[in-house]
């Protein structure tokens, strides 16, 4: 479900990019690159994530700069530019700072940890009991991670 939503969002973003390309005076390139960077950062939990996030921020900044110097555009078009850029900046910030929350909102049926096979834990005692309940002959591995 999450993957479907992500594909759907990617498709929508692509259509939006094409539609935006038909308009003049819009900071198409920086918007597309910023969205692409943020999207890629969201979809990949790799060591490239910080770089992709940084790129998104740079392109949004570049978009604002480009929009600010597009004096030949009408007032309404400039307002639209800044509106789109601001929205893009907000979405990118959301992806950067609240990736899990956004993912959970976009894919509510994808199940959170407590609904899938991960139980909420209130004490290390629960882990200790599970650890000791495992077969003695098994090698045990404890992994501590952040979801994001």
């Amino acid at each position: 479900m999450a993957e479907n939503n992500r594909s759907w969002i990617s498709s929508l973003a692509a259509v939006g990019s094409v539609a935006a390309a038909s308009l003049c005076c819009l900071p198409i390139l920086p918007l597309t690159l910023a969205a692409g960077g943020a999207g890629a950062a969201w979809l990949t939990a790799s060591k490239f994530q910080p770089y992709l996030i940084g790129l998104s921020a740079v392109f949004i900044g570049y978009g604002f700069w480009q929009a600010g110097r597009a004096k030949q555009c009408g007032v309404q078009r400039r307002i639209l530019n800044f509106g789109l850029l601001s929205l893009s900046a907000l979405l990118t910030a959301g992806v950067i700072f609240f990736p899990q929350a956004i993912a959970n909102r976009l894919a509510p049926s994808a199940a959170t940890a407590t609904e899938q096979n991960a139980a909420a834990i209130a004490s290390a005692e629960q882990l200790r009991e599970a650890f000791n309940a495992a077969p003695a002959s098994a090698l045990k591995i404890v992994a501590l991670y952040s979801p994001t």
Partner: protein
């Protein structure tokens, strides 16, 4: 981690993995989604969501923000029982990011499984 485990213990019969997802970063407000969980999903293994970082505090000696047990792996040999408090692991991989230490992890795992 999953790659090494799939390679060295494909059926999951010889290992048990206990994954604890902790709230560490500002962006960790909510439990991990299924896609996140599936990254470390193994047969016969358990995953926990620990928003208060109780495991880090009660079992791994977290006393302040600098001592959070996070992004780390601990390997315990067979027949280890966890009596109380923190256990000294046979091997620990605590230098972040732990993903950069997967070669060492695989080697340690291979030795431990011999």
């Amino acid at each position: 981690m999953n790659d090494a485990l799939k390679k060295l213990d494909p059926t999951g019969a010889r290992t048990r993995v206990f994954t604890v997802w902790e709230k560490v970063l500002q962006s960790d407000g909510e439990p991990p989604i299924a896609a996140t969980i599936s990254r470390v999903s193994r047969p016969n293994s358990l995953q926990f969501w620990d928003p208060e970082r109780t495991v880090s505090k009660q079992a791994f000696g977290e006393t302040d923000e600098d001592s959070v047990a996070w992004d780390c792996l601990y390997i315990y040999p067979a027949n280890t029982r966890w009596a109380s408090g923190a256990k000294a692991p046979a091997h620990n991989f605590t230098a972040r990011p732990v993903v950069d230490r997967m070669d060492e992890f695989e080697q340690a795992l291979a030795v431990a499984l011999q």
